[in-house]
């Protein structure tokens, strides 16, 4: 399998504090990769570095063999890297359909067009409806997205991330704050819509992580202490001490 995303000795300081301390990681094309670690380990920061929200202090990030570190988010997104957010990050006063359609515009080559009328773009509108169907919000299409229930907003958040048909999808705690049954549905949804794509996921729920992931990376205090298949991670002494052990004793 080829490598789609490659981090090489990535570091990030906020002032004097080193948050990410030399992370190197290769993500294979088509794999489902989970990043786990205790709170404050730097998982979200790592996401922000990859997706362009923050600049790296040093190191390189290559996506499809192109260096993307320190590029603005929109340039990275255009290459085919999409992400969701831990805190729901949608367009609240636009309706659900518009949220998805906006997410489709760039990848369908509309760019900054002011000469296409959206109402007449049948193919685009069908695609948007198709995404809504996948995420189970078709009957809410014309609903202001800010007024959706929490789980539905999370589904929409996911929908915006996957709509553009990006090759690499990064989800940040996609089921955080959901009830057990909602989370189960969400995991089914994630599996379904990321089929054939590369997925990176930050998640705290170990059942979900071991269910979805092909490989798992463990991030502790800004350093990767292990990257391996789930069964090896479970058996890994260092991981157990640093992370799983903590869970086991507290549980």
């Amino acid at each position: 399998m080829s490598i789609i995303l490659s981090l090489n000795n990535v570091r990030k300081n906020f002032g004097a504090t080193e948050i990410i301390r030399g992370v190197s990681l290769d993500i294979k094309r088509g794999e489902k990769h989970a990043i786990i670690g205790p709170n404050g380990a730097g998982k979200s920061t790592l996401y922000h570095l990859i997706s362009g929200r923050h600049n790296v202090t040093s190191g390189t990030i290559k996506f499809k063999d192109k260096e993307i570190q320190n590029k603005p988010p929109f340039e990275i997104a255009r290459l085919g890297l999409a992400r969701s957010f831990q805190v729901t990050n949608i367009f609240p006063r636009l309706n659900v359909f518009e949220n998805i359609r906006c997410a489709l515009l760039w990848s369908n080559d509309y760019r900054y067009s002011f000469w296409h009328l959206l109402g007449k773009q049948t193919e685009l509108n069908e695609k948007a409806m198709h995404v809504l169907e996948q995420i189970g919000l078709k009957d809410k299409a014309l609903y202001p997205s800010g007024e959706l229930a929490y789980a539905q907003q999370r589904a929409l958040e996911l929908g915006i991330a996957v709509a553009s048909d990006a090759e690499l999808i990064m989800l940040d705690e996609p089921v955080a704050g959901m009830s057990h049954s909602e989370a189960e549905n969400a995991v089914e949804l994630i599996k379904r819509i990321t089929q054939g794509k590369t997925l990176i996921m930050v998640e705290h729920d170990m059942n979900i992580v071991f269910d979805v992931a092909d490989r798992i990376s463990v991030l502790v205090y800004g350093e990767l202490i292990a990257t391996d298949e789930p069964k090896n991670i479970r058996a890994n002494q260092k991981v157990q001490e640093a992370y799983l052990g903590e869970v086991a004793t507290s549980a």
Binding site: P72, P73, A82, F91, C102, L105, L118, G119
Partner: protein
Amino acid sequence: MGLIKKLSVWIGYLVALLVAPLFFDSILAISILNQMTIAIIFALSYNMLLGQGGMLSFGHAVYFGLGGFLAVHALILIEHETVFFSITFIPAIGGIIGLLAAVFIGSFSTRKAGTVFAMISLGIGELVASSSLIFSDFFGGEAGISGDRTFGPLFFGFDFAQNIEIYYLSAVWVFIATIFMYLFTQTPAGRMANAVRENPERAEFIGYSARKVRFISFCASGLFAGIAGGLFALNYEFITEENLNAITSGRVLLMAYIGGLGYFIGPIIGAVILTLMNSLLSNYSELWMLYLGIMFLLTVMFLPKGFAGFIMMHQTAWVKGSLKQLAVPYLITGIPALLFSTACVAIIEMSASEEEVFHYLGMELNPHSIFTWVIAIIIVVASFYATRRSLLQLANAWESANEIPDSKDSES
């Protein structure tokens, strides 16, 4: 069916524009109608920034004024026969200048929205307004510059000497401009302007540079503001520094806000209301700006979605057919509220009046008599109390008129 329904609004708009001077045909009315057409384009262009793009501008008159100044210069060139074209195209010149100015200024001012954008717009507004007084060869200093619209080739036999002819020319321009501004909201650039207004960060993660999206809206807005400036030049045949300074910028903000930022039609309503107040109220009272200010405050506090929002609030009741249930409750609250406002106006006017006898609503009041004041204050207090008391019944009536009965498709 759907198409006819969609087009019916536009046909209605066109008809209203065309027949308005038949009903209001006095010289004053035609002049007000002309001001309205200018204000409508200007306010709609402003809403492209604030309502649709989330950019609060305190300097939108810059594009209006620069367009207007160049338009007057174009009139002068036509008069001197340096150039030869019909004055009907003057608004296009205004538009091009507005666009060019917006391209230049927008290239750095749209980097951020919010406070940064607002402050830059304020600075640019002041800069251009004061420059216009300094470069008096071009801007004519305090007196401004003037032209004459009756030169150049006739346009199908019209020389546009009459105000009514200018009105019909303006009506065509305002109709076309409104269509294009509406269509803009339906394009990818227009829709992404909404998305960037809502959440610029997320817009960047779906492939759009928030800055570029803002820039495009900004340029489109400048273009239409310039067209409005060109129409102003044609209508008045002169233009001064006042047309590009903060007063004009503030006025267009008020129009868009009072009309309703969230609705395409809002600024049109605001433009009509403010033009009427500006032209009619100012005949009756020197304090009309004060009333305008109070109206703005009340709108911000009680009708944050403006007049358009107030009208749209009644949609549910309209669909339900329960709108008539609201008529009596509105009257019960409306009458004391009206009494309250007239009494307040009386007190304000009496305070400002220097005359012995104060004429008000057919009455002759003596502002120096304590008796007049006591009566007025009693009416103010009593009607305020009555209005407060009646609000509860209005709220109840509102609730029952908008109550959605349990039906099969209601959300469980």
